[in-house]
Subunit: 283 residues, 4 copies
Amino acid sequence: MKTTILIHCPDQSGIISTVTSFIYRNGGNIIYIDQHVDKEAGVFFMRLESDFENNIPDISTLKQKFEEELAQPYQMEWSLYIGSKRPKMALWVSKYNHCLYDLLSRYNSGELEVEIPFILSNHPDLEYVAQQFGIPFFHVPVSKDTKEDAENEQLRLMDQYEIDFIVLARYMQIVTQKIIDRYPNKIINIHHSFLPAFAGAKPYHAAFERGVKIIGATSHYVTEELDAGPIIEQDVTTVSHSHNIKDFITKGRDLEKIVLSRAVKLHIRRKTMVYNNKTVIFT
Amino acid sequence: MKTTILIHCPDQSGIISTVTSFIYRNGGNIIYIDQHVDKEAGVFFMRLESDFENNIPDISTLKQKFEEELAQPYQMEWSLYIGSKRPKMALWVSKYNHCLYDLLSRYNSGELEVEIPFILSNHPDLEYVAQQFGIPFFHVPVSKDTKEDAENEQLRLMDQYEIDFIVLARYMQIVTQKIIDRYPNKIINIHHSFLPAFAGAKPYHAAFERGVKIIGATSHYVTEELDAGPIIEQDVTTVSHSHNIKDFITKGRDLEKIVLSRAVKLHIRRKTMVYNNKTVIFT
Amino acid sequence: MKTTILIHCPDQSGIISTVTSFIYRNGGNIIYIDQHVDKEAGVFFMRLESDFENNIPDISTLKQKFEEELAQPYQMEWSLYIGSKRPKMALWVSKYNHCLYDLLSRYNSGELEVEIPFILSNHPDLEYVAQQFGIPFFHVPVSKDTKEDAENEQLRLMDQYEIDFIVLARYMQIVTQKIIDRYPNKIINIHHSFLPAFAGAKPYHAAFERGVKIIGATSHYVTEELDAGPIIEQDVTTVSHSHNIKDFITKGRDLEKIVLSRAVKLHIRRKTMVYNNKTVIFT
Amino acid sequence: MKTTILIHCPDQSGIISTVTSFIYRNGGNIIYIDQHVDKEAGVFFMRLESDFENNIPDISTLKQKFEEELAQPYQMEWSLYIGSKRPKMALWVSKYNHCLYDLLSRYNSGELEVEIPFILSNHPDLEYVAQQFGIPFFHVPVSKDTKEDAENEQLRLMDQYEIDFIVLARYMQIVTQKIIDRYPNKIINIHHSFLPAFAGAKPYHAAFERGVKIIGATSHYVTEELDAGPIIEQDVTTVSHSHNIKDFITKGRDLEKIVLSRAVKLHIRRKTMVYNNKTVIFT
């Protein structure tokens, strides 16, 4: 049985050896350990992959021991994941198909260790892609008047399919606060600029207007403030005066795909931790 | 005799063939032609390298003909440079030596086709570098009270040495409007962020605070508005949670050097044109 | 009517102005001109986009004039393409779907200005992708005994569908000499290494074995010698000791997709010229 | 007292907790831990930074305990470094000054935590740079007839100045086997290609000939076989048909500087381990 444990707590002497000894005493072999100390904030972060090969422990007993022997004395916030359980990812889209196609073809070739119970959209346009890949598609239109109904329907679907996290694959609608609160650091967005430059609408137009020589894309967790959540992944590509806005958009699409898929993979592999509106990314 | 001609004018049919015919009729061979049309603005840009090998024309006659036959009918703004004349570049610095060392070692190895008549600084710290390379160093301190005197001294030096353009190699002082006006699109600055993100002071601190995964540097022509002039060159490098502010600064230094030196080279080779607060860069 | 003309010929004085004048005299407006001189080889290259807006010429007359007035006196090799005609691209695949999905989703979103008459494979595995996108799929198995039959069937299909160029989207079989001869500089391959390093089979394994810190992908025109044809496009990504061969393969897939699609786009837009087993790429 | 311990040994269960407990029991606080398992080879690698703040141990006792309690039972190869001791780096150069200037200006600004006792060259050309920076310069010419004398003089200087490692900053001469044997994995070379492509002489010429679209530089430890030692760092930059060999060389110089300086920093910080002619680089 493989497990992944994520921990953060106030930095103290001896944490690493205490935690590693705990794992060892309980029959686990540590496969991979990552840690980070934010010295300014005085916070310790750790990610531990362990293998309980021949000594499969009772999970709830293990968790209780961990809580009593480690989490409480060290004031840890922590979570433990069982390796074999695939998280359930909902894909939210609008009209652009490039990120959707990219994620689905990766899913199709076994690159993403998730289940995709459904695709949700505020427009009907991309139903055909869902059909190509045999995945349920739900059209939940959102207008000023139907906002609350839409939110309820979204939440109902999320509950019914026991969704673990949401990927906004160019979902062109603001996600409501209620949903953000229900899925803290579990909604991944792709913004088509190199944040914090060009937050908000029409970033490619703004980038063109400013005459930048490099454009970017940013994947981040969604928080209350628009395009201001913890950044998971960014990438850039060069542009020149010879590119018009349409070229920016086309070049940007390739960035969006790659940046979003990398962020999704990091999240699936539980390699991201959030603290102080920033991410610790264990790679 | 090699010449470089830069032109911009309202876009019209037939410009390219008219200009190329003019060169040919006057005994020149076109070595390299670059052009660009900004379709939105309706502006045509052109850069022409020609060789008047066996038929060295009288320059002032050539210029007059160009003005009458081409510039006036097509409403061109244009300039003609003689290839053999090296422009004179003033280096302005403060306390950081990395960009200065980088430019001087390139100059030293023949990579920059310029003359460097002097290095100017508002601090005495880097005089030793000037001495290492045998270049005159002028210390012009700037304080609230001496601002005007300093400006006058700066202008006097610029005039005395017939400076063509200024490179601010981490000059940590705002250049006065009078100097900007005297050297329009001829003052090259390096800003240590990926503009327009993190304009102004302490960009590495701001980038660290925001938790970005990529940092950058931007070289631009200095205009009235701080860090908002036409961008010549940008580049970026990746960072992670494991880098602290000092790491950002160290990694950033390498970017600053490379971005500034590229911008300086483009300017020296007359490969930059400015329009609408943006650059056309012919590479 | 928009046209693109590609020319290469011995370098001589006056070519640019002669060609641009020709276009102008025949009612065309030059939209974009690219040229290059290989000084060592003494060869001149040119790509001309022209718009014959109000004066649509008779194409065969235009071609004849060009041949007589320009091509013969300047010993040009040249070709003229009409902008509105989409080239016909055959996709050859084997078992990997990532490049296929990538190209088809770009095609689907209008990014590729081609027709795709069919997908051909030596294996039946990817027929389902062809079906997803509604494109005919032909399974032409290749074994030692059936090599000649397969080649005949391949050529028959190419002729029947009037294919202009072939994209080997991870076609894991050597293309026969007869087909290479029929489609000179018209077969685009993607090789999963940074050529010339790791030519031949299993490049990711070889790269892993050597302990490189960067892996790459290369798109090139297919010639007689394996993986040695003119390079169109290359890109790379970083790897580390923490990546195993499977990681190399996964990371490499993203490179292969992006590099192949860029090469295909350059070819479609007639931005590639081949000379001396190298490419001139006009961007 | 800060220490860095590097370990590699056959992979076994419980190593991490055993080592971390050892440090803790001996009064150390683990600041940073990096580990890697090469699963194919069955080898475990670890790098441990520890701080013995209030309990400064006797180093030789600590080493003896480590040897008995850990190294012997686990068959470890290991080394322990005291943080405060700066390694001594010899710079070997020939005629090109770019890498030398780059390293010296970094050294000058405090970026490299080393001592540089001397610069050695087989040519007198760069003595002026040594003088600029006030570092002793030794001219040790190498010819067919004087090879052995030169080697002896090189070794004598290395011994006299107690050199820890050598940086070949474009030293254009093959280092003798005797010296390689004396400094195993302690001689850092910069090769001006993306190895394994274009090993040997004139890599930029070979790259130009092949028509690559990307050129690179590689820093590696020197081993018996030319340009085939363990790779520490690589980087690349794009080129096009418009660049001639001189452009390749100029662009390449920037790569060489950055790649070499990164490799030197990794070595200084003891972040490199060598196994099976490959490196594990802890970043």
